[in-house]
């Protein structure tokens, strides 16, 4: 059963202490696309993301990477294909940027040997692509949130993955940094033919960058498709309880969502 998709999720359910967190989620991700998984806080988005690289195990259904069930692949093999940019990047130990980015090569190395010359090349390129090469020797615990985010993205890139998962990439970032990080991801996705899955509740910000969007509501897939198809006023009202409208930015041609206010009646 090969779909040709880098990632398929088949009727995945996850419960936490008898409460359903995810209920029969099915979706497919196409190669090279940026997929936004949007929904209000507490709808199960982050749990879904953690199920995608086996940090959590689904109670029903399965996740397929390149057609194979991830429960049957080792964590190391998954890490060769899936890079993750987690929500919180608070790091208290004084690793240098180069050391952090270098950890992206761990799935490819054995337990004690250092980096090969090929590893070093990949690490250097990942830092260059993400614009952190000039800060390679700086300490991670002295950096700002946006800089740290870029370092973690560089680490994910150095895993040479097919898929990158991002959990709330705009959270905790200044507005200009949000654009910078998402622009970076968009560019990297093009340059490296990467599939990107972004989980977020930041409707207006993430919509600009996504090829397709999945709306999650009440632990289920509410709608799935291009922003034009599914970000209707009714859907946004139903899922986010906001009065909002999808528009095309006349200057850039990007989609953008205008928020008018809450839908309290």
């Amino acid at each position: 059963m090969v779909s040709g998709n880098p990632l398929d999720i088949e009727s995945l359910s996850y419960t936490y202490v008898n409460l359903p967190v995810l209920d029969e989620i099915s979706l497919s991700v196409k190669k090279g696309e940026i997929l936004g998984i949007l929904g209000p806080n507490g709808c199960g988005k982050t749990t879904l993301l953690k199920n995608l690289n086996r940090n959590l195990h689904p109670h029903k259904g399965c996740v397929l990477i390149d057609g194979s069930d991830i429960e049957e692949i080792s964590k190391k093999e998954i890490a060769k294909k899936v890079g993750v940019v987690p929500q919180s990047n608070e790091i208290r130990f004084a690793f240098t940027v180069r050391e952090i980015v270098g950890m992206g090569r761990m799935p490819f190395q054995d337990s004690f040997r250092g980096a090969s010359s090929k590893d070093l090349e990949i690490i250097e390129k990942a830092m260059e692509q993400t614009g952190v090469l000039s800060m390679a020797d700086r300490l991670i615990n002295t950096m700002s949130g946006g800089e740290r985010q870029r370092v973690i993205i560089a680490r994910a890139i150095s895993q040479t993955p097919e898929i990158i998962l991002m959990d709330e990439p705009t959270l905790h970032l200044d507005i200009n940094m949000q654009f910078e990080v998402l622009d970076l991801i968009k560019r990297l996705s093009k340059e490296n033919d990467l599939t990107v899955i972004i989980v977020s509740h930041d409707l207006p910000m993430v919509t600009r960058y996504c090829d397709r969007i999945v709306l999650i509501h009440d632990h289920k897939v509410f709608a799935m498709g291009t922003p034009e198809e599914i970000l209707t006023e009714e859907n946004m009202r139903a899922v986010f309880n906001v009065d909002a409208k999808l528009e095309k930015d006349p200057r850039t041609g990007n989609n953008t969502v205008r928020l008018f206010g809450s839908c309290k009646v």
Binding site: N55, V82, P86, R92, A94, T96, M106, P107, S111
Partner: protein, 337 residues
Amino acid sequence: MEKGLKITIIIILLTVMLMMSILLDLSWAPRHLSLGEVWDALMGRGTWGNDIIVNGHNAPRVFFGIFVGAALGVTGGVMQAIFRNPLASPYLLGLSSGASLGAAIAIMVSIPLIPVVVVQPLLAFVFCLGTMMLVYTLSRTVGGVRTETLILAGVAVSSLFSAVVSFMTYIAPSEKMQSIVFWSMGNLGMVGWENILVAVPVIVIGIIIMVFNSKNLNAMMLGDAHAMDLGIDVRNVRLLLIVVSSFVVASAVAFVGSIGFIGLVVPHIFRLLLGPDNRLILPLSAFGGAAFILMCDYVARLGAQYYGVLPIGVVTAMVGAPFFIYLLSKKRSEVGW
């Protein structure tokens, strides 16, 4: 300074310090021996008296001291990485108070036919491991074991056991009370070669396993989620390392009593000098821990003719705690607090 050069200098200094402290500690005797006399005795050229002092009396203590120091230094570094907590040490999880309780019970309750020299390390060892298992079980929740819960469970169990030991000390007859107190402050001088044969292999194998997990520990220092994302089976690696470090610590403290601050101070010094990469920190902490414990042992014995040999735990704390306070006040950001 370039990092390679820095590492070389540190290794040279450390080797010199370790050699010096080995010779100094071997030289201890009521009538002080010169380092030349120690060397001669070691090489089999010493006088009959010096041979007994150095090879007979001091050598087992110094030899075992090297491994105890290494054990405590490395497990300290490992615990700080596993728990992402600069305060973590073998003692935080109640290992030491568990061992103390075991030893205190052995001292208090004499079992017929089995001498207390056998029962005491045995019970200390068993209680040390048992405490670890208790703490680990207590902190298991639905989603696995959280490090914060583990630390809290460690602190709680540790306080309870310490209280029981205090109670036993209080009600014990005076000669037993003295040995409980002495044991709970540490003493390298109680070991013989037969103990060493039991403990050293466990310590060496444990240290090798821990050092081979350096890279995994590096990733775990960023956070469990980061480490999982990098393909590490965090739950199993953490369990393995907790079990291994419990065995290593139990093998050390069962014979020498609880000795604090080595696991806390030594890894921090190297982290301050070289950054947090465990591939450097763990092996260096083994050598640093060995040098530190022998120097403290030597100091503990300096004033022996006036007030007897000090418990070594007193010296390690008196040297370690001020240094720790210095780190806390001056170097907070460099160590990552």
